[in-house]
Symmetry: C2
Subunit: 632 residues, 2 copies
């Protein structure tokens, strides 16, 4: 390893993948290593004390080697795999918009006369001629990969083949039809497609029989890019790594990682259905704009720079082989259209699958992920914004935050008299807690508020008759689990700083609602239904989310959990030409509000930096509850 090499790069070259959740900016500290021998250059960093430095601590994403060195890499914290429920092979009919089965792929069995010295027509013209004659498929085109298989398919099938034809493509509805695959003999069994959701955190693949619309297999896994940045901004920074001859290195690496993840998922769903991934002939992808850029190998950097302009909102129709996806090489890969840098195809997919674009009720759609995208409207108009909530609800920027995996506290109740908590931990009975995930954070915040442990500004009272509310190393904190009972052997606490981060996240989202509503001359109170999308949304406790002022104070029946609306949108566009037209219309129809250019957003944000809100009249039920509690 040459002098000046980053420890992270040296480790990678040696086959050790260090997680760089902040994208290698030296911010998160997760890539801390210990230099045991040899000399390294460590740029100044406030994270390490003089003692830490003396002990050899270094950030692998910042420190460079100056000589041969022995470096100790502590075990990483990131789990690489999600558990996929392999028994769940079918999904119910998606909520909301119900697609008509009208997808563009067909299988045709073609039997033709064997060539002879009297008819020396070339293979390709022979197949075209018969498809026109027998099935009125005129003007067939093809690309190289399938042409390379044509000759052997015709001869192996003794001049009977099954032609897989795509009648039209998204961006050319008038044709021409295209040969996607050719199989020797008759193969009229299922016709396969996949719906793909590339989330910043989790990637999901649904294997669909295009003849019936049934989902025959599902698989999910963390996005392989996670170790290179946990949120989109970190990924964008990582993608810009590489200068001079190595220009584009970070981008190429991230593209390879997500394609690698998708290929593993494709192998899994294919194995579940007992087929080869090469029998899959079409894919439709939903993703936020950054994920879409990284998937296509497009540099996402301008997405994070003013004025936040992506290279492309709607990728053209592509081929699996061009992307490195392990499908039939000629398979079409269509992407859903996005609207802006921070309102991507995952949101148009959500609108499509929720049926929001077809309702006459004033609807609020919210996807609480790392970013917090909001859509408001009905069948006649749609406005949207992204409110930079940040990944606090995914556990980032919170001392004991973590993702919703084994050992995460997902529910908290606090006794208003003893201030003692009861918790629910993800995992088998008796699982010890390791930290707090999003729903747990919302839960504890609400409980701390309603039990009076924190005030409306989010400050923890440390003068209560309980050792749990105390002044800790990081300021005031409330201990949820004592060291003796935790999986980590440390106290699991939530601090004033954590609460401030969480408050900023919820305030950003609520401010987004307010600004969107005001932009069309309405108020939040006018909203008739609220759709909650995103995987995280499924686990939100509505009551508690209202108590902290994350969701508007509306009757419970106003709220609908939609689950992963992104993959459902991809699924609908996979099955239905009408759906792909509709989602294009949705994207065109959506008016994007750039909150960073909107002064009223900052006013609304400041107004929402309170529990539940500075304007208590907006949260009458919470107000009532707090008054009852105080009088208790």
């Amino acid at each position: 390893m040459s002098e000046g090499t980053l420890i992270a790069d040296a480790a990678q070259a040696a086959g050790i993948e260090l997680g760089l959740p902040c994208g290698g900016q030296g911010r998160c500290g997760r890539c801390t290593v210990i230099v045991r021998e040899g000399s390294v250059d460590r740029p100044p960093n406030r994270r390490f004390s003089a003692e830490d430095l003396a002990a050899g601590y270094a950030l692998a994403c910042q420190a460079t080697v100056k000589s041969d060195a022995t470096i100790y890499v502590p075990p990483q914290k990131i789990e690489r795999k999600l558990q996929t429920d392999k028994t769940a092979r079918k999904v119910e009919v998606p909520f909301g918009y119900d697609a008509q089965l009208s997808q563009p792929l067909r299988k045709y069995v073609v039997t033709m006369k064997e060539p002879s010295l009297d008819d020396q027509t070339d293979d390709w013209s022979r197949l075209r001629r018969e498809l026109a004659k027998q099935y009125q498929v005129e003007g067939l085109v093809a690309e190289l990969p399938v042409l390379r298989r044509l000759q052997s398919a015709l001869r192996e099938g003794e001049w009977t083949v099954t032609a897989v034809v795509e009648l039209d493509r998204w961006d050319a509805p008038a044709g021409p039809p295209r040969l996607v695959d050719v199989l020797p003999g008759e193969h009229l069994e299922a016709l396969w497609g996949v719906a793909i959701d590339i989330g910043t955190t989790t990637n999901v693949v649904w294997l669909v029989d295009l003849h019936t619309g049934e989902v025959q297999a599902m698989a999910a896994e963390y996005n392989g890019q996670i170790a290179r940045g946990e949120d989109v901004i970190s990924r964008i920074i990582y993608a810009s790594r590489g200068k001079g001859e190595e220009k584009g290195k970070g981008l190429v690496e991230l593209q390879g990682l997500v394609v690698g993840t998708l290929n593993r998922l494709l192998d899994q769903v294919a194995a579940q259905a007992g087929i080869a991934p090469q029998e899959i002939y079409r894919a439709v992808v939903a993703a936020n704009s950054t994920m879409m850029h990284l998937f296509a190998g497009l540099q996402p950097e301008p997405i994070r720079l003013v004025p936040f302009v992506p290279t492309i909102n709607h990728l053209p129709t592509l081929r699996a082989a061009a992307l490195g996806l392990n499908l039939c090489p000629d398979a079409t890969v269509d992407s859903l259209p996005g609207v802006a840098s921070y309102v991507g195809a995952d949101i148009t997919a959500g609108v499509l699958s929720s049926g929001l674009h077809e309702t006459d009720k004033l609807t609020l759609f919210i996807d609480v992920g790392t970013n917090g995208e909001i859509v408001m409207g009905d069948c006649t108009w749609l406005v949207t914004c992204a409110c930079s909530a940040g990944p606090a609800f995914e556990g980032a920027g919170v001392l004991h935050g973590m993702r919703a995996t084994q050992g995460a506290i997902e529910e908290v109740w606090i006794d208003p008299h003893t201030y003692e908590p009861t918790i629910k931990v993800i995992g088998p009975e008796g699982e010890k807690a390791r930290g707090l995930c999003g729903s747990g954070l919302i839960g504890i915040m609400a409980e701390l508020l309603t039990t009076g442990i924190v005030d409306k500004s989010g400050n923890i009272h440390t003068n209560l008759p309980t050792p749990r509310a105390r002044l800790g190393d990081h300021g005031p904190e409330y201990v949820v689990v004592w060291a003796a009972d935790s999986a980590t052997g440390q106290d699991i606490a939530i601090t004033d700083v954590d609460l401030d981060n969480l408050m900023r996240a919820k305030a950003a989202i609520y401010a987004g609602f307010s600004v969107l509503a005001r932009s069309v001359g309405l108020t939040i109170a006018d909203v008739e239904q609220v759709f909650i999308g995103g995987a995280f949304g499924q686990y939100i406790n509505i009551e508690k989310a209202i108590q902290i002022g994350l969701l508007p104070d509306a009757p419970w029946e106003t709220f609908h959990y939609l689950g992963n609306t992104s993959v459902r949108g991809a699924y609908l566009a996979l099955l239905s030409r009408e759906a792909r037209e509709q989602v294009t219309n949705v994207a065109n129809m959506m008016t994007y509000l750039e909150l960073s250019a909107d002064n009223s957003f900052f006013d609304e944000f400041n107004a929402a930096m309170f529990l539940p809100h500075t304007d208590e009249s907006l949260f009458p039920t919470v107000q009532q509850r707090l008054e009852a509690q105080a009088g208790d």
Copy 2:
């Protein structure tokens, strides 16, 4: 190297490329090696005597190793490079059909407003919007490679870029327009395309400024596949190498070799013009059907098997990146259409560039290469055939035959009284002869006939008062150059067997003329003009070719040398939409006659197995000359 490995494969693995001119069939003997140590398995082969075998002689394409072995590889005979005349940068206007400049590529300079928080339109939509507004280019599409460069081009050019747009493609004349490249700033200098001819022997690239139609650079090189087979049949056999896991190995290797040759030629022409090959935006390719299949990575095997049906006569429009060609990755690569397995795009290119399809004179077009393709007709009809002449005129199957490179005898005159020859050798003054090339073979055959050294059946008289006509190791022969004067230190002779092979070749071609003419109720005497295409054609001495009965006995002014009509056809289709329509029409118009299914061909062939022909009335001037000579 494991037991059972072919010596040729072992050599290749060790980086030694053995020439396999017959494609590894054990026929040609050019891959002979000497086993000095160790044990090899040698299948029986008539080529080697018992002494040869004892001395360790083996065919590398047949023998397999049984143990570690030391093998001596004699220097190979094949020259790998053609000399390119680097001063010849311009070509005259092609003979015949004169194309109007109407090619589909355009350069547009587009200046647009910088994005802002008030206009966050994505880069792609911004460019599309401006191209539509400023240049009425509507509905622009693009593929991934150019989209990956869009972002930096717009920013480097400070929102002024030059867009390279292809307005339509061959198989979709109605559009949509496609973005091929985007360059920062204003770049209105030349717009580059290439015309490519993939000959079995020689590959040629012309670099063309599409704005003016001028050829700015030319380069030629032997097809890199030559070492894997000298004629198309040998290549087809080589392409089918590889079984089981290695299936397609031979094909992949041959594709890589020709693409490698073309990329070297592209580098050369680009360097001559002082540009990068990535500035070339369009290529049009002409080639025979086998070369076209190998270029596209399509298995050519059925081309040599009854009923001789290729996978495809007209390749679809492809992208440079998909083929591995080192052009702009989004550059279009169009191929000209072929007609049949043995009448390929090189011949339709020839017809196009000769103007044959526009003349009202009855015309015979002949391309004397390894195969001998013939077209007959005028502007209203065209018939064609291939006459399996074999590569005798390229020096194969002739004891001292060679290609037309340095040391080749290209002209021979024999004194009718002394029987002493005078020769002209390719190369600088005083160059010693190494063998006979095609024009030399035609020359000596004619001279032997007119001087009475051979009879009309092609038998050499060995009872003449000259030591040159003698009974040699291979039967009767005539010594053209004595060992003392040759470059090889051996006598250079032509044998009865050589003459028989050459007679078969010329008889096949003449029989082709006869059958074509008869198929439309005409005779050869009705032909008003004869076009001679192909690089070899340029060097044929018409008089002598008539004397041996290769060309019909017509007045000299009937004949026109056209040179490399294949690359000219590609050049025309590169410059002109009209030309690409015309060549498609030519391909559709041509009626292909399968000679192997035509009994009259064998009759005509047998009738032509005589010098000049059994029917002397067909060659009145030759008859006259022979009678004069006899009476002399």
